[in-house]
Symmetry: C2
Subunit: 410 residues, 2 copies
């Protein structure tokens, strides 16, 4: 039986998960691919460390040694940082290897180059693990929604932020305390900036944008806001309204323009995101034929992420290059998002009479309000009072909080 030879770059949580799964699921690989899958090399930082790896696997700190192997079919990358990863993967593609990556930052920056290079070299790129861990959102968009025209994708894409927001709400804890717990559980790094300031979710959103729309918005135009402004007071006010804060990445196409944002928003009980708690991820895809479908599952962790890479391994071994990106790019269609009214939760002291363009719907406390306003009108208000804090409430005029008896126009 012929053999597919695989190298794994990195042996941290994810790299180890991939290695263990390839060992434990040998039978499934053979059944699906008709070939044996064999890990022949692993790139590590420290060669001395005890690791429980089969003896015939080449352990090395030198990627060039891996590239010189006589047969190498797939390179699975599970390290962080843009470099030297990007360089390694270019070299692997140049040598005719399929590549699989979990590195969102690198892939958001260099994905297009890698995909183009792979196409030139007749190999495939698997990157399911870059977005939403084990949830097969990339393959769903790419393989299962071929004819549907996607108009909008919304996602809870960062498990760390979602965990912190859940903890704050459930345990009535401060942001700082919840962050410490996320760090203690291994969800957050010592420097949590990437997660809590929305960079991680931003990279993932850009990757999704390229799959769904064939292109990305200008990165500078994307509104990116972390969760550090969410206080216990705000969470409590939201609870009273039966709303919850979720850190949501949103990408949509309107009139040929891609609009993206990553920010905390409020959702009500009827929204599938309301119940996505802890380190879970969820992605909502709106498309024209099927309507809205939601995928939910573990967003990170050893085996969920390994699962995405392992399924990619089958995909790259089975499939030809997918030219979906180009198709979407050239197709001439317009996004079909229904224009809806915008609702906001405002925090700050505002003289209502000075803003006739805004409809004041509810007063939660003397400094927290629910309003209805166009984005431009809201910007006008904020131009004059930049200290005001505001969050969009996801939904339309059927939102329960707008229809409850106490929500009278004030």
């Amino acid at each position: 039986m012929s053999v597919i030879k695989v190298a794994i770059l990195g042996f941290g949580t994810v790299g180890e998960g991939v290695y263990r799964t390839i060992q434990s699921h040998a039978q499934e690989f053979t059944a699906v691919l008709g070939k044996k899958v064999e890990v022949v090399a692993i790139l590590v930082k420290n060669i001395q460390k005890e690791r429980n790896i089969r003896e015939d696997v080449l352990l090395t700190t030198n990627f060039q040694e891996i590239l010189r192997l006589p047969q190498l079919d797939v390179v699975i990358e599970a390290i962080v940082d843009k470099e030297p990863t990007f360089t390694y993967l270019k070299q692997a593609i140049g040598k005719g290897c399929h590549i699989i990556t979990a590195n969102k930052e690198m892939f958001a920056h260099h994905g297009k180059e890698l995909l183009d290079l792979a196409k030139e070299n007749g190999v495939s790129v698997g990157y399911e693990a870059t977005v939403a861990g084990g949830i097969p959102v990339i393959q769903t968009l790419r393989q299962l929604l071929n004819i549907n025209r996607v108009s909008q994708i919304q996602g809870i894409l960062n498990g760390t932020s979602n965990f912190i927001l859940s903890e704050m709400r459930e345990k009535k804890q401060s942001f700082a305390e919840s962050l410490r717990q996320a760090q203690a559980k291994g969800y957050a790094e010592a420097d949590p900036t990437n997660d809590i300031e929305g960079f991680d979710a931003f990279y993932k959103a850009m990757i999704l944008s390229r799959i769904a729309f064939g292109e990305e918005p200008d990165w500078q135009t994307v509104e990116r806001q972390g969760i550090t402004a969410i206080t216990s007071e705000l969470i409590e006010a939201a609870e009273k309204l039966k709303l919850r804060f979720k850190h949501v990445a949103s990408i949509s196409k309107e009139d040929e323009q891609i609009i993206a944002s990553v920010k905390p928003i409020l959702v009500g009980d009827e929204n599938p995101f309301y119940h996505v708690e802890g380190a879970e991820n969820a992605v909502n895809v709106h498309s024209d034929i099927v309507g809205r479908i939601t995928l939910q599952g573990p967003g990170a962790g050893m085996y969920p992420t390994a699962s995405a890479m392992i399924e990619d391994l089958v995909y790259v071994c089975q499939s030809k290059l997918n030219s979906r990106q180009n198709i979407k790019k050239t197709a001439d269609w317009r996004g079909q998002i229904r224009k809806q009214k915008d609702y906001w939760l405002l925090q700050g002291f505002v003289e209502k009479t000075k803003h006739p363009e805004i409809t004041w719907l509810d007063e939660v406390t003397d400094s927290i309000f629910i309003i209805e306003a166009g984005k431009e009108d809201l910007k006008g208000l904020l131009g004059r009072q930049p200290e005001i804090c505001y969050f969009q409430i996801l939904g339309d005029e059927n939102l329960p909080i707008l229809n409850k008896p106490t929500a009278t126009v004030i």
Copy 2:
């Protein structure tokens, strides 16, 4: 450019949805398949009816006329009943056509025969639309979870039942009144037996079982219970406990045996099914590497169902026969569901002292109880008091109702 010629059998809601979508998404088909897709014939019941169909489409009441067309590549079936559908599709396969069906009853009974026949004839069968409407659950199981070992699938697979349960809870309405509303909205047939007695969900569960495990349980061993026993009183008692009734199909493999049931169960707030309301469907897949992922979306309707069939059209035109079924069947592995304690809501008058094998956890009203008991012990109790009504509560010892201050062991 070459052309893929398609016939549609039936021009009801789903058939019309498929026709309209093929017309409106011509560009996408060409981009993805490199070929034009053309509807060349439609099988109808009444040829006189005004339908707004292109004039060059053959409209006929005679399927043999369709089979005699000089080129026919795909037959899309959107009619009901097992016959004459099964016969038509066998004939279509015999003529070398790929087939796509939305007919769960027919497919649950004859799917294996159709798949075998298709394999012999080198054509493909698309049946995504038979389960959970627009949610791509079958393709997810088949294409995206190749290496994962599925241990359990649970699903809200019947939109009508879910709609009725939602209405009963939200509007505090009787079963009869909610059923009338489902009928008025077109969710339920004049004879709703298939939906409310769980036959529809049963057929879908059998189809999922074959995909996930390569086989079905003996149909006679499957516990099938509809929603007609759910009274307003029970729903109210559940509400008090922060639980909701959901009609859930469950299929799992334990020690080489497939265990399936279709019945109302209770779920708490932490379960993704808790929030699946109205005519929505949801499917939960447990597998060994990724863990639990949930897919949620529209379970029925003109365009969601058409979406599934349209995406199948791409699938059958692109792919070779998938031999996944056989793989799963021969793989030697054991289901890995963790054995958990079973919790139940009981309705009826029970003398507690007579049942020392049962742990009585909470008394909701004087005839509604929460208990912990093995299934065998529960059967023992029911053998003596068959009038008692019981429902499983989904979850483990972390269930919030078991940890709330009022839930003391009584």
